[in-house]
């Protein structure tokens, strides 16, 4: 099942990575920006749509909604989300491994 979902878009990949620990919506934007050195800035619409979709697919879950203390809604990755991420990681590793062929060809 997880195989069918790959490749992930860059946005989905980094959102999954960001929710490895409980994090709120705007925190995801900041985290992804930091991880990529400012290269990837998620738009609010992109992030909102992705969160809705990933919740529907069961890749992420709501971690806490504490309205009384005005705490923000936080998200956390699920086991299914971790499985999807792992499948993608393996795919990316394969890509990188094969990229070595190019380097070898140029070295000679």
């Amino acid at each position: 099942m997880a195989e069918k979902e790959c490749p992930l878009t860059e946005a989905v990949y980094y959102i999954l990575l960001a929710v490895r620990k409980p994090i709120h919506g705007y925190g995801i934007i900041q985290e992804v920006e930091q991880l990529t050195g400012g290269r990837v800035t998620l738009g609010a619409g992109t992030l909102y749509g992705a969160i809705q979709t990933m919740q529907k697919k069961g890749w992420i879950d709501i971690y806490s909604v504490d309205t009384e203390s005005r705490r923000k809604k936080e998200y956390i990755i699920t086991d299914l989300g971790k499985a999807v991420f792992e499948t993608e990681r393996l795919r990316l590793e394969e890509l990188l491994r094969n990229a070595g062929l190019m380097r070898d060809a140029q070295g000679k």
Partner: protein, 233 residues
């Protein structure tokens, strides 16, 4: 300050709102084509237009999410949601990758398709009243709806083009075709023609004739412009 504008292209609308904000006018309300502006500091806000999933409302989830990101929901109208954020909080974009941008434009395209079908049905109803029941209001409706249809079909052409561009970015396969739009002169001509029918006997005959001739010139101009636009492609 209040300004009247009809937009069939949300990108053009967003651009206009941001130009106004840059000039010190912050859009604060909208009703049926009328935009209400309040004075603000020049370039204080950045506006974006989103397309929601409910009529005239957004979910609590959405509201909370946007609030957290420092985004203010200025107005909902139909499925449209007009948003703004203080420029001091940094760049404000809604859709930053091809996949989400495409999903967004596809939602808008679905809405325009429905509107186009409804307008076409309306066109037939008005044609029936005009020709069969001999009600002159029927013809007024025909030309008004004709003008709206020109706008809708152009909007669909533009949306198809945007979706095709994004698809190209996603899968790297070049599609073909360029947008084919209908000249807006045709829409103006159609509207003017309905005006001439509407004023009917209320004005001297020569005024009506002038309006009618103008309408015919505009409509032919529109048809010619559309034809020439196609030849260039």
């Amino acid at each position: 300050m209040i300004q009247f504008r009809l937009y069939f292209d949300k990108d053009a609308e967003t651009e206009w709102l941001n130009r106004m904000a840059a000039d010190g006018w912050a859009m604060k309300g909208f009703f049926a084509g009328f935009f209400r502006f309040e004075e603000c500091e020049k370039g204080e806000y950045v506006y974006q237009v989103d397309f929601g999933s409910r009529m005239n409302a957004v979910s609590d989830d959405y509201r909370e999410f946007m609030q957290e990101a420092g985004i203010e929901i200025v107005q909902t109208w139909g499925y449209w949601v007009i948003l703004r954020r203080k420029a001091s909080e940094g760049a404000f974009e809604l859709y930053t990758d091809a996949a989400s941008g495409m999903a967004y434009y596809k939602k808008i395209r679905r809405m325009f398709k429905v509107v186009t079908i409804v307008e076409m049905l309306g066109l037939f109803v008005n044609l029936y009243f005009g020709f069969v029941e001999k009600v002159s209001m029927g013809f007024v409706g025909v030309f008004v709806i004709g003008a709206i249809l020109v706008g809708c079909i152009n909007a669909l052409a533009r949306l198809n083009e945007k979706i095709r561009e994004l698809q190209e970015r996603i899968d790297g396969i070049a599609g073909e075709g360029r947008p084919r739009t209908i000249s807006m002169l045709l829409a103006v001509g159609l509207l003017l023609n309905s005006c001439s029918l509407l004023i009917g006997e209320a004005v001297p005959a020569y005024v009506r004739h002038i309006v009618q001739i103008l309408a015919v010139i505009l409509m032919f101009g529109g048809l010619f412009g559309t034809w020439r636009g196609r030849k260039k492609l």
